[in-house]
Assembly symmetry: C2
Homo-oligomer: 323 residues x 2
């Protein structure tokens, strides 16, 4: 019996995806680092696991004919992975749905409290050794709009709702009942919803429908002083429009974990804004996340081996997880 | 009929306590600013409302014989107000229990997320224009010890519990069942409890039992890397011992809203610690707090006028609100 060949594609400096030793005797595992020798490796791969990879290299090295029978992404977003030979194939794709939900939701809650309690002001006065009493906001009395009501957006809404916030969401289609939200509207209703939200949180995947969704017009419709949080994908926001909305004081601030260009270049103007908090695409990466990714793959591998339906299938045409 | 004379003592720069115009026809209200003319005013006062005041001046001006029949503090803590002529009198004292609970609970949650998500690290790297991916902590997997299980401590515990944290409390006496906490221990058990908590949150009032409770020995018993949050009173913590615990790296950080000396002097070493977040005794002062204080007093005044039991009585011997 020939064991299926599993290739795990890693960045040069990335450690092995953990926990795969439990597949010994069921698969031949190769943890492949960097882009050297990629084409011959893919030509001998049954199951491809992509953790963090330069996708151009993947496209160049894609085998033809293609022995790959399943692709698993150890990320929630699969936008970059949807290279044409994969997107237009019948190869099933799965993602890491669920793993990042809670970590991202805690990050978002922390970001909202950072602004509601003016912690950035505290830290500024602290550097100046100034004692300045101010009134702050009660998050319980404020409202949030979550753009993207998938599993991450729903977990964000659940946590914010637990604090007593009024939370509405948008999704591709309106939804009648969703316990996580007061209401879920269709994305095309977004312009009419923006004016009521103290916080707008982007948790959507990057698709043709969300690319550049936050532009000059979108920011103009937001409530003056509102705060933007982006934990979705950088390209959902037009960064120039964001800078203008910050410059003219219309936007109260932003917490950004994702950017049009990552890493954010050292000379980018965003670094300097006192009312912007920048993190390095790490919102969901809470201690134990890589072990959870490994465990999730192993679980799905056992389903795949038994011919059972895979968990967390991705709609390769739409470019995100199926609900 | 002679109307009762209500004196509201305010700091020099403090605006009137709002909402008292609704007592027109029921009381004569004097909003008294600063310490000038205090003694003659107190000698003609039936109901004294203390919002933020230099207590030494109050003690000097305290009338004898004393016409004051009720003292209401628009704060949760009444430690400074307990001057001997009041403490040893039969004058009922009430406080602003409840008004600050939720604001402080949100502040504490924000402080925990500030450390769990290493937001201070994000802001430091941001100033250096450095993109640095790190793993952070999931608050859900961490534990909190709330020192002081009164109404503020219970609200803190409720919010942290809503995030899935394991939350225990300490109070003067152990309590069998308290829905806000997994368990409430007696304060004397504190030393044995400190080693298990990732976050230790002080919400206790300042009393003989809590003054200096956090000293060299207490910090040594805390879990290495644990974070201290103080929203109780500054003098519960020995600041020198705190600085030492920060210097030797045993403490992971601190969020401090109260200090032994307030305002914190400009030359105090605490301002400079990169893992300390300082706020100006404002954790509970969320928008609308002063209106809520005025409303709470008016409500209690109507009870007092009708001879009904006052809400939020203070145990003047113990120096904090009765449960």
């Amino acid at each position: 019996m020939t064991l299926p060949r599993v290739t795990v594609l890693l960045a040069e400096d990335e450690p092995d995806l953990p926990g795969l030793e439990s597949l010994e005797g069921q698969a031949r595992i190769h943890q492949h680092r960097g882009i050297g020798g990629l084409a011959p490796r893919l030509a001998e791969t049954d199951v491809l696991v992509v953790t963090d990879f330069r996708v151009e290299a993947l496209e160049r090295a894609w085998p033809s004919p293609c022995p790959i029978r399943w692709v698993h992404a150890t990320s929630a977003g699969v936008d970059a992975l949807m290279i044409p030979p994969l997107r237009d194939s019948d190869i099933p794709v799965t993602n890491a749905a669920g793993i990042f939900d809670r970590g991202i939701a805690e990050y978002v809650l922390g970001a909202l409290l950072l602004f509601a309690k003016d912690t950035l002001g505290n830290l500024r006065y602290q550097r100046q050794r100034q004692w300045r009493h101010r009134e702050t906001h009660m998050l319980r009395d404020q409202s949030a709009l979550v753009v993207g009501a998938g599993s991450i957006g729903r977990e964000v809404a659940t946590l914010l709702g637990a604090l007593g916030m009024d939370v509405i969401g948008t999704a591709r289609r309106a939804r009648q009942h969703d316990a996580a939200f007061a209401r879920v509207h269709a994305q095309e209703d977004l312009p009419a919803l923006l004016g009521d939200a103290d916080y707008v949180i982007i948790t959507a995947p990057l698709t043709r429908q969300t690319e550049g969704l936050f532009n000059t017009d979108t920011f103009a419709r937001m409530k003056p002083g509102a705060v933007l949080v982006n934990v979705g994908r950088g390209a959902i926001v037009d960064t120039r429009a964001l800078l203008t909305a910050l410059d003219d004081g219309h936007l109260g601030g932003a917490a950004l974990d994702v950017f049009e260009q990552e890493p954010l270049p050292a000379d980018h103007p965003l670094w300097d804004y006192p009312n912007v908090m920048i993190s390095a695409h790490m919102a969901g990466d809470a201690k134990g996340w890589r072990a959870a990714l490994g465990h999730q793959f192993v679980d799905n591998f056992e389903r795949w081996r038994r011919g059972q339906p895979l968990r967390n299938p991705v709609d390769t045409q739409r470019g995100y997880g199926q609900r």
